[in-house]
Amino acid sequence: MFFNSLQFAIFLPIVFIFYWFFANKSRKYQNFILILASYYFYSCWDWRFLFLLVFSTLLDYFSAIKIEGSQTKSSKKFWLWLCISINLGFLGIFKYYNFFAESFAELLNGFGFHTNPVLLNLILPVGISFYTFHGLSYIIDIYYGRIKSERNFVDYSLFVSYFPLLVAGPIERATHLLPQLKVKREFNFEKAKEGVYQIIWGLVKKVVIADSCAIYANEIFDNHNSMNSLSLILGAVYFAFQIYGDFSGYSDIALGTSKLFGIDLLKNFNYPYFSRDIAEFWRRWHISLSSWFRDYLYIPLGGSKGSILFQVRNTFIIFLVSGFWHGANWTFIAWGLINAIYFLPLLLLNRNRKNLDNFTLGLNSSSIRILFNIFSTFCLSTLAWIFFRSKTIHDAIAYIQRMFTNFSFKEEYLAIERYNHNLITLLLIFILVEWFNRTKVEPISGKYSWLKMSFCIGAILALGVFSDYKEFIYFQF
């Protein structure tokens, strides 16, 4: 059941009615309705994986109690590592086993040993990377004594399986979500209205921007060997907006949906393409994952303490792991590596925390510099997205090579019966709307909200892509 499906449009009001009209007497009922809805939501993909989700929940739940109850540090450590190993073990088998087996076989073949690796024919359980990370953050927080273990199993299950965030995040923290689940939620009109606006804007991003870009980007990436420089540049730009519209659109729908139930989720995107450098980009893109890696990997590794070499090592680890988290393919690792390389000069010059403030533009040279920085950061991230989108590293290199050597900027008519520039106007309008609303969660609220909402609904209906249905990209991770 996708957020942009008719099923979800029926499912959501039903859950809403049960939640606010039949279960509003106590938080227990509210949580019970949400957990039932969440398990139903998850089983719509593949009910068999529900067992895996419940197992993972039980494992984290009992491990947390054991860690908290342990008298000695070694016992605490034992339960922590047992839980981490099993969680990562599942993730490893489902997501990474074939990659490691194939890579190892290739390595041996390189040394002259011919091997045929045993590969597993497994379907990746949807959302496994997300709920595994939910559980891990909880366990690690318990271990460090940041929170108390949750004894109510329904509440804990809901923290892991809450349907708006179950399949593609945001990756929540127990310290943020669990306290909200421990109190009865009262209906708040303003919050619910904001939720509806956010859902509508998320749908605009997904079905109008991302899915339209996908049609062009797929065509250009799949046939990059025969495209000219202009098409290849546009293909990369289209993919940059596809992945942004897709994932931030999904996040908006998730956050908006959750607001309808009176629960706030962590913000996942903050207009990343208006970043002035790569460090700022990573503070604004997939925030819940970046901050997860910062808190549970970068800081335990030593973070920015120690020598510069030590910091560089930690930075590379973070970006490589982040790339690998996205999928078992060298292209994701390359994408992480490229971002680490982009980050390196900022780290060495101690400028990685330079652009923390908001900016305003005027008619002066510093505004031109800001705009130039935003443009160059976008170009850098778009170049890195080519690796993320390509099927193999070889394809990505061939794509970039052709982009910079073909030097033909003639308009091409694509096999999908469209000119490759057709989307530019739509993207420019989208950029302007985002730019002028970059201090807000979504652009609909405020003055003339009814008019703006009508435009958005009109855009979804008239410009949305419905016949060439696309799944959310991050569901595969």
């Binding site: 009109f189 619910a192 209205k193 909402m453 009508s454 209906l461 949305g464 892509v465 419905f466 016949s467």
Partner: protein, 296 residues
């Protein structure tokens, strides 16, 4: 909560009004358009009189040259549409009858398209703007699963087929941007030859009795139209030419024309002749079935 329910009610109202307004807008635009496709051209025309009409897929669109018929005194139009199947050809013929066309002879391509009773989603979509206006189109599609949604939910048809009749197409129709579909009286010549030529493989093809073809035969009989159903040329390298024998076994009345032009120089691809091939083939067809008459 009351306030929120009121808010949701207003939002749903906006949604509903948008659906109706957009449906009116799109349909209005398509009803004014007659230069984008052969279907809108057909829908916008009335009381036309043709000596010969061609129907079928790209193997008609690229293979029959109306000009050669005109030179011999025959009024013709090539209504072949790339990707269309016999189901869409049948609907086009029904629509011609509804628009009060007078046709003496119908040349129908029946070869690869008889392999299936299925339809073409791409071509079906082009009929959808006229769903409310044409009883024939409604009647033709009333048994498809989405029929009720397409007919009764405003704007649903334009969302369902957005790839073909969505915003881009509506916009092009609104500014009356022409396509080449109607040039040369519907004939689209292929000018380039793709080499090396990849042989067409018909091993997976097997002709079946075809509902739409039977329907076309019945319409022709009912309206005194002479039906000439024929196969059209394929290149010599085609794998499993036996397929054409099977067609003949099922429908002996279908004229076998697949071997009339076989030289590679006449083919753009194995299944589509180039302009030279189309001219040669049209001449063969004319000489076999027609006699020159004085232009009126």
């Amino acid at each position: 909560m009351k306030q929120f329910l009121f808010f949701i009610g207003k939002t749903i109202l906006i949604l509903f009004i948008s659906l109706i307004a957009l449906d009116f807008l799109y349909t209005g635009v398509y009803l004014q358009s007659n230069s984008r496709s052969k279907i809108d051209h057909l829908y916008q025309s009335k009381n036309k009189k043709y000596d010969v009409v061609f129907l079928g897929s790209s193997r008609v669109n690229n293979h029959f040259v109306p000009k050669l018929f005109h030179e011999k005194g025959y009024k013709t139009f090539n209504f072949g549409i790339t990707r269309s199947r016999l189901e869409e050809s049948a609907l086009m013929l029904k629509l011609m009858m509804e628009r009060n066309y007078s046709i003496d002879t119908l040349i129908l391509q029946v070869d690869l398209n008889i392999n299936t009773n299925d339809h073409s989603e791409a071509i079906r979509s082009l009929f959808m703007p006229y769903l409310h206006q044409s009883e024939i189109i409604r009647e033709h599609y009333k048994s498809i699963p989405e029929y009720n949604k397409l007919l009764y939910i405003p704007f649903y048809r334009y969302m369902y087929y957005d790839n073909r009749i969505g915003f881009r197409e509506m916009y092009n129709a609104a500014i009356q941007r022409e396509t080449n579909a109607l040039y040369n009286d519907g004939f689209y010549p292929l000018k380039t030859d793709k080499r090396p030529m990849v042989p067409a493989d018909l091993t997976k093809y097997y002709p079946k009795r075809n509902k739409a073809y039977e329907e076309i035969k019945a319409i022709c009989k009912q309206n005194n139209i002479t039906l000439i159903a024929m196969t059209t040329p394929m290149c010599a390298e085609t794998i499993n030419r036996d397929y054409f024998n099977h067609i003949h076994e099922i429908y002996p009345e279908i004229y076998r024309m697949e071997d009339t032009v076989i030289d590679d120089k006449y083919f753009s691809t194995c299944g589509h002749m180039n302009e030279k091939g189309a001219i040669a083939f049209t001449k063969i067809v004319f000489d076999k079935f027609f006699k020159p008459k004085t232009k009126s």
